[in-house]
Subunit: 478 residues, 2 copies
């Protein structure tokens, strides 16, 4: 099966993006279909990428005073209904538990699509005084949203994420929390995953159900479609009022808390595949690759010399990098080269009998360029430098693509043409009327992705010609 | 609320063990009840203990070649039914999803009570050849088992665990895996959680539903009841046959794989509370305590001297230990002392103006003994030594208790008396007939907890007088 998996040629990324994506996810063994509708299995190599995202974020969240906790999977329907917009947004996607063993439940339970409706009631128990604030919790868990059409990682009935839920004394504190988190997400996307993003807020039509404001990061994928890469919701006092979460302030007044919620999910792995891969398969940025360096010994008559040298090299480099020594004897070196190209390892080192004799290895970069011979003495410096170069190269490629696929339009006709021809982000002025947004949606099939932060609007609304109150980036989207 | 929580006196552990347990779990803020029947919220301090268990185990699992993966939460009923004993064991406890949004499902889905029934079908896709074996995967996830009576951590409708699922070429390999995992669990229990355990196997009546053999660790709690602290199941080829998981061996024969599964859960936190706590609250073994050292500055007029010294101390000790500086100004030092005793921090350091002047601190051990003055110069050595002592002391206390509550019985009457009076483990010879086991269960209310590994039986069955084939430890159990 493994042999078949790599022997078959991948569809070309430029010709059939969608099929290329699915085949890379499957053949690189990131995920697989299961007998459960819309639910995937995340295989160890894919899960290792998720663990990399988790451990980086978890460290940053803890550094900024957040703590992990856990809340129930099953939420009584009456709780989900307490915030009106929230239930309206999520009810069509809820998987309902109606029976426990043989017993029919008196109230059905939602498998959580998100946890505001169970966390806020707990905050009502835990928060009494301004001294108890802020509450800065998050949970790493699974959620279910019943989806009609699903795609590996990008849209699945169940996915993994963290959901942050914080409670604050003032509106300003809650808003600052949203921006702090958006900054951490942007750092993850750009510095670790090497995916450039536009940061900003959503127009009201695209907000999280029940939020007063939604901060978002939007990335442009190589097919010209945008993908939401992380959101941070300013919930105002909407949920505090729905669940009656109050505190006694220092002025002896009872007040509602201000709350936020925020998340990134395993969907990021889908973005990672799309953003960087090529016709040979996956390309992983070094900072998130499960293995930054793969060592392939050239086996044969000289195993007794080559294998110990390869092991020593793996051990040496293993002190600084995540290293995989692929010493399986059931596969040829050539087969392994293809395998690790498919699986996107940033740097590959080959070591054969002649290399051992000359105290050198042959290094290949997954991003291309000629193979090069590298002396084993001091190799950790060379490898470190090359990994940094690959990391930057992937980010810069993404940024160049994004910039060359971002245009501005002054009329709806220009906007329609840009969406069709340039295939990317189109920036327009907007008067903030819903009707003008609706017109653009109908004409283009694109949606408003993001209103950039801290950028003053000027000029006119692209639809009605009234003074623009905001800039908006439109794109077709996942 | 915080004030009330610590002001009220705890029930005495020796007088009302059950209520003491619940109050400690709640007031130390490990967990709380939720509006969801039988489901608890795990609060940050309780979750930090779980993260300690996770990170220790995850490292050991990875060192021994295991990788993390993820499988669907929802399992179609037809899959759960494929292994007959398995479904019989779990069906009464299953929460069933019957609707997705407004749509009634054609087949209902079980919220996973355990994942053999979805993982084995995936193994059938992934395993083709002996070269693909062993498969050594585990998943950190949540499971639901619909329980009638629930208790925080010990028995909850939803709990967190990891489930390991491995596939092997031979029976011997699978059995060796079970023993390897049991050894890792025993190391966790004894070295990290400071809870002594008996290691062995379960009699057939107590096996995991569908297992050919269940390895177990059993700990004795201070109320004389045993608790299962970790299990590792040798599944033989039962699940391989039910789900048709075969591989082509090197002799060109198609064979069924041999599989195992194993788990420990958040239930361990319940054992930890019971095993070590006292009338003042929780006592945490240093190696698992979220904070090994809590520093309480004695605030007042001299804050300008004391606070910087306390911060410097926290920073210094923070390089070697998990340290919490409790510098909240809304609470008195005395209140904080009670708080951190309730929450079980192993070592507390007080630092006041005189201590700053004398370059010293006052150290208290949570396990008792007089306060002692410690010089700040070289304090990390003293603290390290004391933490090690506390770790050993807790384990030795537990072992002394267990040993003094373990007896042997030669007749059923002796066994009945021992269960009633000594309240602990009673070791008896057994002929391996189910009827003899049933007799003991009826007479004592105790169950057979564990058959010790590698200990040859001698003498007679305690019930029928036939030659004993095994030793069995009986106890009442959680």
């Amino acid at each position: 099966m493994v042999q078949e998996r790599t022997a078959a040629v991948l569809p070309k990324k430029s010709e059939n993006f969608s099929e290329w994506y699915t085949q890379v996810a499957l053949r690189a063994e990131l995920a697989d279909y299961t007998p459960v509708r819309g639910s995937m299995a995340i295989r160890p190599y894919g899960y290792a990428i998720w663990e990399g995202i988790q451990s980086w974020l978890d460290r940053r969240f803890k550094e900024t005073g957040h703590m992990n906790a856990y809340f129930p999977l099953l939420i009584p329907e009456s709780f989900l209904k307490k915030e009106a917009e929230h239930v309206e947004g999520f009810a069509p996607q809820v998987a309902w538990v109606t029976h426990g063993g043989d017993e029919e439940l008196s109230e059905r339970l939602a498998v959580r699509p998100t946890s505001e409706a169970i966390i806020l009631p707990m905050y009502a128990k835990w928060i009494q005084s301004y001294r108890d604030l802020p509450v800065l919790l998050l949970a790493w868990n699974n959620v279910v949203r019943w989806e009609k059409a699903t795609r590996l990682f990008l849209r699945t009935a169940e996915f993994l994420w963290h959901e942050g839920h914080t409670a604050h004394r003032t509106m300003e504190d809650a808003d600052a929390e949203c921006r702090l988190i958006l900054g951490i997400y942007q750092e993850l996307l750009e510095q670790i995953l090497a995916i450039p993003v536009l940061a900003g807020i959503k127009p009201p039509s695209e907000r999280f159900a029940g939020a007063a404001n939604t901060y978002t990061l939007e990335a442009l994928m190589p097919d010209g479609q945008a993908i939401q890469a992380g959101t941070s919701h300013f919930l105002g006092q909407n949920f505090a009022k729905a669940f009656n979460v109050k505190f006694l302030d220092s002025d002896n007044q009872e007040k509602y808390i201000w709350s936020t919620s925020w998340a990134v999910s395993t969907r990021l792995i889908g973005s990672l595949i799309m953003a960087h891969g090529d016709d040979k398969g996956l390309i992983l940025p070094p900072r998130i690759a499960p293995y930054e360096v793969v060592i392939v010994p050239i086996l044969g008559r000289d195993d007794a010399k080559v294998l110990p040298a390869a092991k020593e090299l793996a051990q040496h480099l293993g002190r600084r990098f995540r290293v995989k020594l692929d010493d399986r004897d059931a596969y040829t070196a050539g087969w392994k080269f293809n395998e690790w190209e498919l699986r996107g390892a940033p740097v590959r080192l080959e070591i054969g009998p002649r290399d051992v004799a000359n105290k050198q290895v042959v290094l290949s970069r997954r991003t291309g360029g000629a193979k090069q011979t590298v002396r084993i003495d001091g190799i950790e410096v060379t490898v470190g430098k090359i990994l940094d170069e690959i990391q930057s190269e992937l980010f810069e490629r993404g940024r160049a693509y994004r910039d060359s696929h971002t245009t501005q339009a002054a009329t709806v006709d220009e906007l329609v043409r840009a969406i069709e021809q340039v295939q990317g982000f189109v920036k327009v002025g907007w008067c903030e009327m819903q009707s003008c947004e609706d017109t653009i949606r109908e004409r283009t099939g694109a949606s408003p992705r993001v209103i950039p932060l801290d950028e003053k609007a000027s000029g006119k609304c692209v639809v009605c010609g009234m003074p623009a109150k905001a800039w908006v980036y439109y794109a077709r989207a996942y």
